[in-house]
């Protein structure tokens, strides 16, 4: 019960202090909207929403979560308020889950605009809504965990932002968001399959078109494995580096 109270209040505090601030909400709306508009203007009449739907959703989540979490954690560490959380009688696992939950919810919120816009305005057809929702949730989790992993290495807020960009921008091209992995040079493709976002995007593609590169079960398994790996390796490094 005590742990639940702490968990819920850490989450509420983060939502109120960081994620529900007007600049972040407007980012969550404007960023995906701008990308959709760009695609629409570029392709005009030949605009196939199904081709870009998963990419825009994935990008909205990726850009919304990774830097948000890494920046907020680095900021709290810098101001030493994170120390207060580390000194509370809370299991470290629960503390980290509380910290990442806010970013996961923010990622899910970021995906709502492109989904609504694609379905209501561009009349996109979603083949499997359940898989789409699962895909969005898993992609939010994996992107958030990437942010957590980044925050372990960053000492300054600008470092957190730089490291986030270092990971995010190559992922746009490597993870099949807009460019199919099959069209990438052969020597780059193994790198794509080392990145967890690739499998998240593949799940989204399956949910929208019914077609994807790998089997849906394999995608789900690999994303869950990456989640597990990133969570526990971040936890290991937090214990190793922050409690010296």
């Amino acid at each position: 019960m005590k742990q639940n109270i702490a968990f819920w209040n850490i989450l509420l505090k983060d939502m109120k202090n960081y994620y529900l601030k007007p600049p972040n909400i407007s980012w969550g709306i404007i960023f995906p909207f701008a990308w959709m508009l760009m695609m629409f203007v570029k392709t005009k009449s030949a605009f196939h929403i199904e081709e870009v739907f998963s990419g825009i959703v994935a990008m909205s989540i990726l850009f919304g979560t990774t830097s948000m979490l890494s920046v907020t954690i680095t900021f709290e560490r810098k101001s030493r308020s994170f120390e207060r959380l580390l000194l509370a009688p809370l299991r470290m696992e629960l503390l980290i889950v509380a910290k990442i939950t806010g970013a996961i919810l923010f990622g899910i919120f970021n995906s709502i605009i492109p989904v609504l816009f694609s379905v209501l305005y561009f009349k996109a057809v979603v083949a499997n809504w359940t898989v789409l929702i699962i895909g969005i949730i898993l992609l939010s989790i994996i992107s958030t965990l990437l942010g957590l992993f980044i925050s372990v290495s960053a000492k300054e807020v600008f470092e957190a932002q730089t490291y986030s960009n270092f990971f995010r921008f190559p992922m746009i091209f490597l993870c099949g968001l807009f460019i199919p992995i099959a069209t990438l040079p052969v020597f780059i493709r193994p790198l794509s399959y080392l990145l967890p976002v690739t499998y998240g995007v593949d799940i989204l593609k399956y949910s929208i078109t019914g077609n994807n590169t790998l089997s849906i079960v394999l995608d789900l398994t690999l994303v869950l494995m990456f989640c597990f790996m990133l969570f526990y390796s971040s936890l290991f490094f937090i214990k190793k580096k922050w409690i010296i």
Binding site: I5, S79, R80, R84
Partner: protein
């Protein structure tokens, strides 16, 4: 002797080749105010960090209430409140919200933490600033709210790392009064400070720490008694002495039974193990063409005990801390 609530046995903390805490052992009795006194870099904060779980113990043991929690200090965190050397609350949250949030971290229900937050704001005279953002608080107010936050869950032990460092005199006095009151109510207080007068006023027992080692632990009275066999004269000059060594040598030559050292550039401390007369010394110094503005026989204090045991001048220690 009262029951031991904290006990450290042979604690060592290494950072690579550097030993920050070097095989220290001590205990803190239930209900006492225990002080850790030492200069910058002595290992005070590291010692606290080892006891609260913010640093990993290289070797040694930590017991809380007789239970070995060396590898599971998290378990002790429910009964301890921690005030770090710098305020570490949330800038964007109000004072009241900060306290309520800290209460939630210890699992207090909404009504309990709200009531406790109001009580603490009242105790610390921060009522009027309750709804102001923490970043708008003065340094003294920030310090008080940080201490209040550490008390939200009624801890049995309160760790205070330099509680009055860098704050105004009035706030410092208020904090000292609050520490005394808390202690009277039964809270065990573990504090580190570089203000020797503060340690003398507040602590029941003190450990002198230097270069990671405990030099001496005892009650304040016993530590002061250590210096009672010394007779001290302090002489203050109107301007800085240019050749301190030469003056010391002349004094030693004339008064063979004394030792002297400069407390700062214009104050000399003359120590003798036998009763000492102030007038011949003042006369001798006047003959050296040095204008004296103050000369007094000095009663032994905790400061003298500290200087005697560690060889560190308090003024230098304070300056060092202020520079930091």
């Amino acid at each position: 002797m009262r029951e031991k609530i904290i006990e450290a046995k042979n604690l060592i903390k290494n950072y690579g080749d550097f030993t920050a805490v070097n095989d220290i052992s001590f205990w803190v009795e239930k209900g006492e105010v225990f002080g850790l006194l030492g200069p910058n870099g002595a290992g005070k904060t590291t010692t606290i960090n080892l006891l609260i779980g913010m640093a990993k113990i290289s070797s040694g043991k930590v017991y809380y209430d007789g239970v070995d929690l060396t590898r599971s200090i998290k378990k002790a965190q429910e009964i301890i409140g921690i005030v770090a050397d710098e305020s570490n609350l949330y800038d964007e949250m109000s004072g009241y919200d900060n306290l309520c949030f800290c209460g939630s971290l210890y699992g207090l229900s909404k009504s309990d933490r709200e009531k406790k937050a109001k009580d603490l704001l009242n105790t610390f005279q921060l009522n009027e600033a309750a709804n102001k953002k923490f970043k708008a608080y003065s340094k003294g107010m920030k310090r008080k709210l940080t201490i209040a936050a550490a008390l939200i869950h009624n801890p049995q032990i309160l760790y205070l790392d330099e509680p009055t460092s860098g704050i105004d005199v009035a706030s410092a006095r208020q904090i000292r009064d609050l520490i005394r009151k808390l202690n009277q109510k039964g809270t065990t207080v573990f504090l580190t400070t570089h203000y020797i007068e503060e340690a003398e006023r507040l602590c029941d027992r003190i450990a002198f720490l230097n270069r990671g080692k405990i030099i001496k632990i005892d009650s304040v009275n016993n530590l002061i008694n250590e210096s009672k066999d010394e007779n001290i004269i302090e002489v203050v000059f109107d301007e800085n002495v240019s050749d301190k060594e030469q003056l010391s040598a002349k004094l030693n030559e004339k008064f063979t039974y004394i030792t002297c050292h400069f407390k700062n550039d214009n104050t000399i401390k003359i120590i003798s193990l036998k009763p000492i007369d102030i007038s011949p010394i003042v006369q001798f110094l006047s003959l050296q063409n040095i204008f004296i503005i103050e000369a007094r026989l000095h009663r032994p204090s905790l400061e003298d005990a500290f200087v005697k045991l560690t060889g560190i001048e308090i003024d230098l220690m304070k300056k060092d801390k202020e520079k930091k």
